[in-house]
Symmetry: C2
Subunit: 325 residues, 2 copies
Amino acid sequence: MKLAIFGYGNLGRGVECAAKQNPDMELIAVFTRRDPSSVHTLTGVPVYSASDIKSFKDQIDVLIICGGSATDLPALTPVLAEDFHVIDSFDTHANIPTHFSNVDKSAKESGHLALISAGWDPGLFSLNRLYASSVLPHGADYTFWGRGVSQGHSDAIRRIKGVKDARQYTVPIQEALDKVRSGQQPMLSTRQKHLRECYVVAEEGADLDRIENEIKTMPNYFSDYDTTVTFISEEELLRDHKELPHGGFVIRTGKTGVREEHTERIEYSLKLDSNPEFTGSVLVACARAILKMANRGETGCRTVFDIAPADLSPLSRDELLHSML
Amino acid sequence: MKLAIFGYGNLGRGVECAAKQNPDMELIAVFTRRDPSSVHTLTGVPVYSASDIKSFKDQIDVLIICGGSATDLPALTPVLAEDFHVIDSFDTHANIPTHFSNVDKSAKESGHLALISAGWDPGLFSLNRLYASSVLPHGADYTFWGRGVSQGHSDAIRRIKGVKDARQYTVPIQEALDKVRSGQQPMLSTRQKHLRECYVVAEEGADLDRIENEIKTMPNYFSDYDTTVTFISEEELLRDHKELPHGGFVIRTGKTGVREEHTERIEYSLKLDSNPEFTGSVLVACARAILKMANRGETGCRTVFDIAPADLSPLSRDELLHSML
């Protein structure tokens, strides 16, 4: 199958790496809104201008759109679904229903199939929330993120005056994890679930106390959390914080039994050295499923909840029965 | 939807408990091969003779067959699929392809839908092997079971002369778990992955050394493992070993990246106080999916790999998008 990538940042490079690992796939093009001659791909895949994409209409089986959820994807995915089967990783949870319905309309009208919100959260974590809550209706589930770099929070710090660069780690609180695992189904506040660790490079002469205070009191991003701020040099940031690790936990505990009660626990976790490469790997597996589903005549918008797991695999039904069931 | 249970042992009772937790379900009958008047259900569901089941042909949406994989299910599932949409938890991994094709033939010919090998392994663990291997093709996965009671191994000990009762726990070896989690992708022998702990009640005057030796040297069951044998009284067995806990881990680690290599880890685990109640909970969620799929006109045999996750949930697509994605 022939894949292409629209948007070549960290996630686009992650998709490129993942495509390389799957012998049934070929990555034939990267589309960029920058000057294509300025973009050099990791594996030598040719780079084209985003404005040329329509001329590739019949050459691409699935187009993977790698853009930001704030402004890029809401605009791009419905438009690109007019000409291609598409996948995105739209992750603004509150806006998913609107994005779904925009993409669904466009894909249905043009006879294409689209998958939105693929990745690990939303994505694999969503699947685990769904499986666990379907199996254990009398229970509660909890999602913890980290330890990992939050790019949104790092960006928010960088927008503060006097900040040259920053890296923010989201850290799940061990005590909360332990309480959840015990099956007590605790009520946990935002502050009880996660810490935020900030590593900040300040500009020369900047007022460090003011920066620290602006971070810790920033609404939505930091004010509801226990936040630590550590000022480091640019060299330290580049040396110790250049990677983009992430991960997290989805844990559901529930009760079963009618006379005696039993506690059951389902736990799913990810520990990722490279968030964009792992997310890219999920998108590429989903591309395989979307092409199979499109070849069966499906059109419109889908989420990971609609993908029968067998469609993600390159193995045949017989191979799956023998080796994996 | 109207459910019925065929076979009322530990698993049948687990299904009964699970059905009770789902307001969209009603359990209307239990069928037994014993004298129905001798069987009393936990929730007052009426009990009928297995031989009367044909007269319920139009009253049951999905029939959950709770029998053993050695002889019951290979005979029962293909026959019951002639008259009902059916689900079983067939778990003899090596014979799944044969069982699948027998059930598929029968269900297709009669226009019914069947799901085989549902539960947690095969079942939820299989799903996790499939998702993880599709996402991380350059990797290795490992399944560990326990700590939990293996009924097959407990039965094998009970067949030894001089043994009155026994309970066998399968225990994953921590060192092996740690090595797998590190991302090293180790080669592990059977003995390196699990221990077997046996608690045995001997008959009065039995030769304990002989019993211990027969257990430890039993081929397939114990000879490839480090096995401990502890003789206890019948009172201790009833007091300390009456529950049927189980659980386990599916862990896959893989590499991503083309220039620099990164390690990614996906881990899924279950910690179950009641293996049969949890397995019953999985079967009941699958029954919901099978009815939705049958109502869309599907026939033949399926496995958990063929179920789109949304079909397991009582929630609508809109509710899933809002609350779970």
